[in-house]
């Protein structure tokens, strides 16, 4: 099976800053990948490279195409939402539907209309009249009505309240995603997407510091919670991260035997957010 995205040795610098510093990864069809990193880690640069909006050194293939030279062709199969506020403010909802119907061979207007019927958005609304939440609903309705093979979402729920955020991801999973589609999401709100991801990449200073399927994470990382009893720790392997919790501390281990750790206390797979903090801080220590 051909990967949807194949990246090898991607490099890009803005002056002295390395935005991408040797990125390699494959994204297979039917996966939902979360690209997670602190501000300025290179996420947006990587997305721009994938979408052919900015060139980078190295090899990048999206659906077998070169995104920079075959951008128009590629965008018939790739959709993206870059931010909530980028729909042109003067456009009417009806015109947005008509425009997509006219320029996008894979857009199904009836699907978008059915989705919009469930919202308070009217065809006669001008985009500047919509609230931020409605804007996202509209953008999602437009994008979900496209039969694309790859959907790229860059901070799609930024600035939305929790109700809209939950609804956004529920709609995405229930009404859009199937085994033929691939989704790439970047966001800071890690907790909210954790349950829907199949794969995750942590990126820091233009480098990948973790790339794994959620399945692998479960085998690779273990969290154990200890009461404030330091004696037990001496017998344990080296934790990659320790953080205080109420009445004790939580330790995260990488590649340690789960069964032997179980003797020290309750074990679990760390949450993505905790793992993110652990890996990013580990990088900092190593640096």
């Amino acid at each position: 099976m051909q990967p949807v995205i194949k990246a090898r040795g991607l490099h890009k610098s803005y002056g002295a800053t390395k935005a991408l510093d040797g990125i390699d990864f494959d994204l297979m069809p039917g996966r939902i990948l979360g690209l997670i990193g602190p501000n300025g880690a290179g996420k947006t640069t990587l997305l721009k490279t994938i979408l052919g909006l900015a060139p980078a050194q190295g090899e990048i293939r999206v659906l077998g195409m070169n995104p920079h030279t075959q951008r128009t062709e590629l965008l018939e199969q790739v959709s993206f939402i870059a931010d909530t506020a980028i729909l042109p403010r003067w456009l009417k909802v009806r015109e947005a539907l008509e425009y997509l119907e006219g320029v996008h061979p894979r857009f199904h207007r009836d699907r978008a209309e059915i989705f919009l019927q469930r919202t308070e958005i009217k065809a006669t609304h001008i985009i500047r009249q919509l609230s931020k939440g409605m804007l996202t609903q509209l953008h999602l309705a437009l994008i979900m009505a496209i039969d694309s093979n790859l959907l790229v979402l860059d901070e799609p729920t930024l600035g939305l309240d929790i109700l809209y955020r939950k609804q956004f991801y529920r709609t995405l999973l229930e009404d859009y995603f199937d085994e033929n589609k691939t989704i790439l999401i970047t966001t800071h709100q890690v907790e909210e997407i954790e349950h829907l991801l199949t794969d995750v990449i942590f990126i820091k200073n233009g480098r990948i510091c973790l790339s794994a399927s959620m399945e692998e994470l479960h085998h690779r990382f273990t969290e154990i919670r200890l009461t404030d009893d330091r004696s037990a720790q001496a017998a344990m392997p080296q934790a990659i991260h320790t953080r205080p919790i109420l009445g004790g501390q939580a330790l995260i281990f990488e590649n340690s035997d789960r069964e032997s750790l179980r003797t020290f206390g309750d074990i679990r797979t760390p949450s993505l957010a905790d793992l993110f903090v652990a890996k990013i801080q580990e990088e900092r220590r190593d640096a």
């Binding site: 979408l51 939402i81 506020a85 042109p88 403010r89 009417k92 425009y99 320029v103």
Partner: protein, 307 residues
């Protein structure tokens, strides 16, 4: 083709005021002014008849001139050229408004989506930069002029018929046959169409320059659009002591207006105009420069990413 037409439609949605409302308002205002203008004129002519020996000789003199002109059939029936002049004047007003609107349109066309960041949305669509830029050019050169042309035609027809009804019904002056009027309308409108084609081709390098400015600048494209040629003129004067840039620009602008006005009044001059335009090196150089400016626009839109 459908894709391209949708992009042209998009331009009309964005510039509704400039391309749809403005010609409608201009037509309304001109027709209103015509009706308003008839009132004092009518009063003057009526005043002349009523008070031929009036105590107000100035009003009587003006009224008599107009009335005798009408009554002798000189202006209307014996010389249809007068109708053409009237129509040409109405059409020229629309052409002037259109040129102003187009200058603002082109200088903003590749800048407004960068300013409001909607460029990210447009770039998420399978539309090449080349086709996007060409659709903007087509909107300015063909789409908008078509609407302005319709508004001009409606105003011209209204102008012609109001005048005829007024002269014929109120003053019982013999008017040209409906056929002659339709012929005049047709001739003058054909002149407008041909004249615009010539004008648009002469102004193509100027329009493309505005597009290039709108694709190039980070802020205030008008500053570059006016500032760069001005700086070039001053620099040339200062360094070489000559003023070729100025002359070339004036020639290009004058050629556009000259072609429009000539064909508007006498569309039968088409063959002469074709010959004189096709043999003017400046015309061909202008087209080549336009192609260069357009390629630069496409390059800038494809390869520069500043957001």
């Amino acid at each position: 083709m459908r894709k391209f037409m949708t992009q042209v439609k998009r331009e009309f949605w964005e510039c509704r005021t400039s391309f749809i409302k403005t010609p409608m308002i201009a037509a309304g205002v001109l027709m209103g002014l015509l009706l308003l203008g008839i009132v004092p004129w009518h009063q003057k002519v009526a005043g002349f008849i009523k008070h031929q020996q009036s105590e107000n000789p100035a009003a009587a003199t003006l009224g008599s001139e107009v009335f005798s002109g009408l009554n002798n059939h000189q202006t209307i029936t014996t010389d249809p050229g007068y109708l053409t002049y009237g129509l040409a004047a109405v059409y020229s007003i629309f052409a002037a408004i259109l040129l102003l609107v187009l200058a603002f349109y082109f200088v903003d066309a590749l800048y407004s989506d960068r300013r409001d960041q909607s460029i990210l949305f447009w770039k998420s669509m399978p539309v090449s930069e080349r086709s996007a830029i060409l659709s903007k050019l087509a909107t300015g050169l063909i789409g908008a002029p078509a609407l302005y042309g319709i508004a001009a035609l409606v105003t011209g027809t209204f102008f012609l018929f109001t005048f005829m009804i007024y002269a014929g019904a109120i003053w019982n002056i013999p008017v040209p046959s409906a056929g002659a009027m339709v012929l005049t309308l047709f001739k003058c409108s054909l002149g407008l169409l041909l004249g615009w084609c010539f004008m648009a081709l002469w102004y193509l390098p100027l329009f493309c320059w505005l597009l290039l400015c709108s694709a190039f600048v980070r802020k205030t494209p008008f500053l570059m659009a006016l500032g760069a040629p001005l700086a070039l003129i001053v620099l040339e004067k200062w360094v070489l002591g000559s003023h070729h840039t100025f002359v070339i620009l004036v020639k290009q602008i004058a050629a556009g207006i000259y072609n429009l006005e000539l064909l508007l009044n006498t569309p039968q001059n088409l063959a002469d105009q074709l010959t004189s335009t096709a043999t003017a090196p400046q015309f061909w150089i202008g087209l080549a420069v336009s192609a260069g400016f357009l390629s630069a626009c496409v390059w800038l839109r494809t390869n520069r990413w500043e957001l």
